[in-house]
């Protein structure tokens, strides 16, 4: 016994500090980090862009070089473009999308919850929502313009409609995913219907609601830019559209970059919100 232990010791000692750690062979991604690969890919794409413009493989009219785009960005930042400063274009777009998101959420979430809970609400609202929501928003934009004019109202209503459906449907799905045992547990702890709604239904549906908001905002961005391309005098989409009339590809690139940056900021914000509001997601 002692013999075995002492014989084992010298072999075990060097490996004890740095044991060879193993784990089951993974399949698929298995949470392997991809950040470095993604950053490298980004850098490589920008490098390629430099190379292509530097070698003049594509005429600059079609593909401006990175430094040209940067210069144009700084120029627009200083002087504005198409009758408005960059700040004015950006805030026009942000105002539209934020207002619409707020409206869509404040109608879509309560209605979705009600549709998940009540047969009548579900029956009444299912038909119109199922009818309009597969339509591409641009298909009914002309109607919005005819009814509501060319001003802010038509664009905000269009965006609200586009964002409303995914938010409403996911709030419904949130109620549907509520396990009956959770409801029964709350009822046998004496919950009233209102307490059941506030303390059980709402928090249970929250993860799905936030997913719906994220999808809604994604839909919002694509609808926003398209609407501004067609009917606006301010906004990033409008800026891109005017630039295209003058074949100013560098301005188009600036516009795309600005949209990309803001869309990323929004989805990052949503992720932070999710982490703050539903830290338990996926853990129970």
């Amino acid at each position: 016994m002692t013999d075995l232990a002492s014989r084992g010791a010298p072999h075990a000692a060097p490996t004890a500090a740095h044991p060879k750690r193993v784990r089951l062979h993974p399949f698929g991604l298995d949470g392997a980090p991809t950040l470095l690969i993604s950053l490298t890919t980004g850098a490589a794409l920008i490098g390629l862009w430099f190379l292509v413009s530097w070698l003049r493989l594509v005429p600059p009219l079609f593909l401006p070089g990175p430094e040209e785009v940067l210069t144009q960005f700084l120029a627009i930042l200083d002087d504005g473009y198409a009758g408005a400063t960059l700040g004015e274009h950006v805030s026009a777009s942000l105002f539209r999308i934020s207002t619409a998101a707020l409206l869509a959420a404040s109608f879509g979430i309560p209605l979705g919850l009600a549709m998940g809970l009540n047969r009548w609400v579900k029956g009444v609202f299912d038909t119109p929502i199922e009818f309009y929501w597969p339509l591409p928003p641009l298909a009914y934009l002309p109607l919005m313009i005819i009814w509501l004019g060319i001003g802010e109202l038509s664009k905000i209503v269009l965006l609200t409609l586009a964002m409303f459906a995914p938010i409403c449907l996911s709030a419904q799905a949130g109620v549907r995913s509520l396990p009956i045992e959770r409801v029964n547990a709350a009822l046998s702890l004496g919950a009233t219907r209102w307490q059941l709604f506030l303390d059980i239904v709402l928090p249970s549906a929250l993860p799905e609601i936030l997913t719906g908001l994220r999808i809604g905002i994604g839909v919002g961005w694509s609808t926003l830019v398209a609407a501004e391309l067609i009917a606006a005098t301010r906004g990033i989409g409008f800026m891109i559209m005017s630039a295209s009339h003058f074949l100013a590809a560098d301005v188009v690139f600036v516009g795309i970059g600005v949209i990309a940056a803001w869309a990323f900021a929004f989805s990052y914000g949503m992720r932070l919100l999710e982490r703050a509001l539903v830290p338990w997601k996926g853990k129970s």
Binding site: P179, E181, R182, N184, A185, A186, L187, S188, L189, G190, A191, T192, Q195, D199, I200, P203, V278, P279, W280, K283, S284
Partner: protein, 267 residues
């Protein structure tokens, strides 16, 4: 006194056929007793418990608690489920205090009471943990504390330890006896483990499937003995224990003799 009288439940199965899940069950649960329903899966144990909890209306028969008819869930019947139903967004403490919150108890009082209950189930120090940070056994302890918080007249437990490993399960059984001895709550407990039934029940009712009915009833005193002497070995090695084990085992496994249906068996 909880009184179940001639309770029958019919479900309609998905294919449209009628499932006779519970057939004229009659059962009394007196003060300070632990009634254990024992039977193979599908014999209507959960159906009976769900009806007592008020989750399920009866097709026929009646259930009364202290003379009041039972027709909906309420805080006078605490339920512990097999699958824990703790709210993942609330701390352990707030989960235990949930029923008190529903009852409008001020925050300080309910925190105090919840801490007291957590101590009783051996979880002091975990008040501020999240449910997902606890093991299965610990979560069931929280479930028991939560069900006790509103001071219900009866505790209903549907295979609460069924998903636990056997070592944890034994600990939980002893914990439950402690809780029972301390609080004097009546308990309706479901299991498909004969040993668990014998160890915990002051009364064991054996159920059989298709249609689900109570086929035998045994009055026992092992749990009272354990509460006093706290000697598991003495109980497990009691020849009565082995005898009853065999008798019940035969009842559960053999397609039972129809002539004994519904009849009480002598102890």
């Amino acid at each position: 006194m909880l009184h179940v009288h001639n309770a029958s439940v019919f479900f309609s199965a998905r294919d449209g056929r009628v499932v006779h899940a519970l057939d004229r069950a009659t059962l009394d649960i007196d003060a300070n007793s632990v009634v254990v329903a024992l039977g193979a899966s599908g014999c209507g144990k959960s159906t009976l418990l769900n009806a007592i909890a008020g989750f399920l209306p009866l097709s026929d028969g009646s259930i009364t608690l202290d003379g009041q008819p039972v027709d909906r869930p309420g805080a006078d019947r605490g339920v512990v489920f097999q699958k824990d139903t703790l709210l993942p967004w609330k701390s352990v403490l707030d989960n235990v205090a949930l029923g008190l919150k529903f009852a409008g108890v001020p925050a300080r009082d309910r925190r105090e009471r919840a801490n007291e209950l957590l101590r009783m189930v051996g979880l002091d120090g975990f008040a501020h943990s999240a449910p997902h940070e606890l093991s299965g056994g610990m979560r069931q302890r929280v479930g028991i504390a939560r069900a006790l918080a509103t001071d219900p007249k009866i505790l209903l437990m549907d295979e609460p330890f069924g998903a636990l490993d056997s070592l944890t399960r034994e600990q939980m059984q002893e914990l439950l006896v402690d809780v029972w001895a301390r609080t004097g709550k009546r308990i309706f407990f479901i299991t498909h483990s004969i040993e668990e039934a014998l160890f915990l029940g002051t009364t064991v009712v054996v159920m059989s499937p298709r249609p689900g009915r109570i086929v035998a009833r045994f009055d026992l005193d092992f749990v009272r003995r354990f509460a006093q002497e706290r000697d598991v070995r003495a109980i497990l090695s009691d020849p009565r224990f082995a005898e009853l084990y065999d008798e019940i085992r035969n009842l559960v496994h053999r397609p039972h003799d129809r002539s004994h249906e519904g009849g009480d068996r002598p102890q």
